[in-house]
Amino acid sequence: MLLAADVHYYLFLSFSLFAVGVYGLLSRKSVIRMLFSVEMIINAANINFVIFSAQRNVHGEIFAFFTIGLAALEAAIGLAIVIVFYKRFGEVIPSKIRNLRW
């Protein structure tokens, strides 16, 4: 197998990606970049599922399928909200978004 490295290396990769995602979520003001960060965090979780699945049993891989589907949905809804906001207010600044309350 091409990438049969130690499990700790994969955990290091997963934590690194998670950390970059948390950094982006906390420091960026752009909604699209915040969505990128959320996707990175989800992918970090997916890598964990997959690496333990590759060594133990098949169930983690199936959960990764579900996660990918839900993450795609979340991205679609998030981007739809971004576009609606842009159409109404001409800008999308997360700290100023208060108008979704009703």
Binding site: M1, L2, L3, A5, V7, H8, Y9, L11, F12, L13, S14, F15, S16, L17, F18, A19, V20, G21, V22, Y23, G24, L26, S27, R28, S30, I32, R33, L35, F36, E39, M40, N43, I47, V50, S53, A54, Q55, R56, V58, H59, E61, I62, A64, F66, I68, G69, L70, A71, A72, L73, A75, A76, I77, L79, I81, I83, Y86, R88, V92, L100
Partner: protein
């Protein structure tokens, strides 16, 4: 094992660098391209671990679908680059702490690396149908709920207008 490690570290470097570029690039278009590279590299990890179906889904759904959505959003909305807020230092410190604590815990936990297994697509499908087919119904409800929520937000604002 040594060769695997070399491949792993190359892929690790590409993933982390492209993730950082996706957040730091001044042009959102370059950020999106970097994001595609990140997702494709993760698909390569799946292929390298002997999971071609998952790698294909990752390429089709993430590197294909989500990226096209993001590209359309960029074309419709655009973005002027804004400097990171003052919270950037806190965010960097928190991120480094997450990596340190996570790696420390993973090494201290004495996790064993078991031999890698390769599952056939047939076996994957059998397990999916046997144990997880009920979850597709739940997933369907979640999809419906999310679509309803998105519709409600968009419809509400249009009425208000």
């Amino acid at each position: 094992m040594m060769g695997s490690n070399v491949y792993f570290w190359i892929i690790y470097a590409v993933i982390v660098v492209s993730a950082i570029v996706a957040l730091e690039a001044t042009s959102l278009l370059w950020a999106a391209i970097s994001f595609v590279i990140l997702l494709s590299e993760i698909a390569i990890v799946y292929f390298g671990l002997g999971m071609p179906v998952l790698g294909g889904v990752q390429l089709a759904v993430y590197a294909g679908g989500v990226t096209i959505l993001v590209l359309f959003a960029i074309m419709l909305v655009g973005e002027s680059y804004k400097k990171p807020s003052g919270k950037a230092v806190t965010a960097i410190v928190l991120s480094l702490l997450i990596v340190l604590i996570g790696v420390g815990v993973s090494f201290l936990s004495a996790l064993d690396t078991f031999p890698y297994k390769v599952y056939s697509t047939e076996f994957l499908g059998t397990i999916f149908v046997r144990y997880y087919s009920i979850f597709t119904i739940v997933l369907g409800f979640i999809v419906a709920a999310m679509l309803y929520l998105g519709n409600a937000i968009i419809g509400k604002k249009r009425e208000a207008k």
